[in-house]
Subunit: 194 residues, 2 copies
DNA sequence: CTCGGCTGACCAAACTTTCAGTCAATATCG
DNA sequence: CGATATTGACTGAAAGTTTGGTCAGCCGAG
């Protein structure tokens, strides 16, 4: 992928985070990226193609910044917590990525082309968390009888639900974080900690 | 609200569930409702006004069909379970309402006008569940130390997360249901049942 | 020179919104 | 009671606006 494409895609994420997928106008995007509208068509064929590529870009980028945020050697249990809580952080980058991700996921309900990448990205995320819970169990940081798969699916779904409430102004961020922390404890300890 | 307005609003829910908020065109809506486009403007001022009223209509209707679905005299614990599971049911009415609700909630992230009705409707739902958990606790159907508020917020958020995954084709319905059932047990019993 | 990257200008189609005006029902008046 | 205004609901048609998408051609690096 060329530098120019990356430029356009990151601009797309910004525009989507600001106006939603519904509000993404090719002209707005061109302005945000500082290029002509025609160039977008040159690189991405059409609006649908652009959205498709943007979705891939968002999930790829999410995976990257997620990894970067966590010090190597962190124990798996803490790792799970950091990974999940990470989505509920009020920095421009995360807010932007979360908003765009939520929008693209929602669009998948109506656009079959987006379904498969959404499914793949979700599966990957759930798989990561599930794997970490597995490890944490081996190290005795998680109660036995916990189903890593189930817990991972519930916790990531919960994060998405909380995130959307936060981003739509329905829920305060600190409340969302505290709810998530309790949920993690509930899932992994089978009783709230402290 | 006149019968005619109700007719248009229910058509709007159908169109939104089918094409999304972005895909709602005034002309399509007019066709779906069997009226002229001008009539929609006569009753709702403009597209934004229509969306706003549709949101109110969806939440009102959700509350109504939810009540109808549950036999009076049901014990509170079962009531909670039915209420939550109810959103994960593949009937046209529920799918329609859930899809429209998800769309409108997502739109609230970008449209301040929609925020307040979304917040109100959510608070009402959380309040209902929380109240029922309270009652269930009094009747000994829920473990002590459970925070009804917290559990209600987490469970409803989880339902929204699971629902969106289901509707976007990311998650099979029966899996979503089973995940939710386990979450309820985890939250209310502080240990999975059976 | 030439070729991929890139653009300004442009357009047809898609959409929203407006408007003049019809019609049935209801109120008003002589 | 009959004639006449008034009103609210509603529509067809078209104006007005926005948007996705195309295209002929410019430009700079090799």
């Amino acid at each position: 992928m060329s530098e120019r494409q990356r430029l356009i895609l990151s601009a797309a994420v910004r525009v989507i985070a600001r106006d939603g997928v519904r509000g993404l106008r090719m002209e707005d995007l061109a302005a945000e990226a500082g290029v002509s509208t025609a160039l977008i068509y040159y690189h991405f064929k059409n609006r649908a193609g652009l959205l498709h590529r943007t979705l891939e870009y968002v999930s790829e980028r999410a995976g990257r910044y997620t990894d970067e945020a966590i010090a190597p050697g962190t124990d798996p249990r803490t790792h799970v917590e950091l990974l999940l809580l990470h989505e509920l952080q009020d920095t421009p980058a995360i807010r932007e990525n979360s908003t765009a991700w939520g929008e693209l996921r929602a669009s998948a309900t109506f656009d079959p082309v987006l379904r498969e990448p959404v499914r793949t990205a979700t599966a990957e995320w759930v798989g990561d968390i599930s794997g970490l819970i597995d490890q944490a169990m081996i190290e005795g940081q998680v109660a036995p009888h916990v189903s890593p798969e189930g817990a991972a699916e519930r916790l990531t779904s919960l994060v998405e639900g909380l995130s959307e409430r936060w981003l739509s102004g329905t829920l305060m961020l600190d409340r969302a974080q505290s709810l998530l922390r309790d949920a993690i404890a509930l899932e992994l300890d089978r009783a709230p900690r402290r």
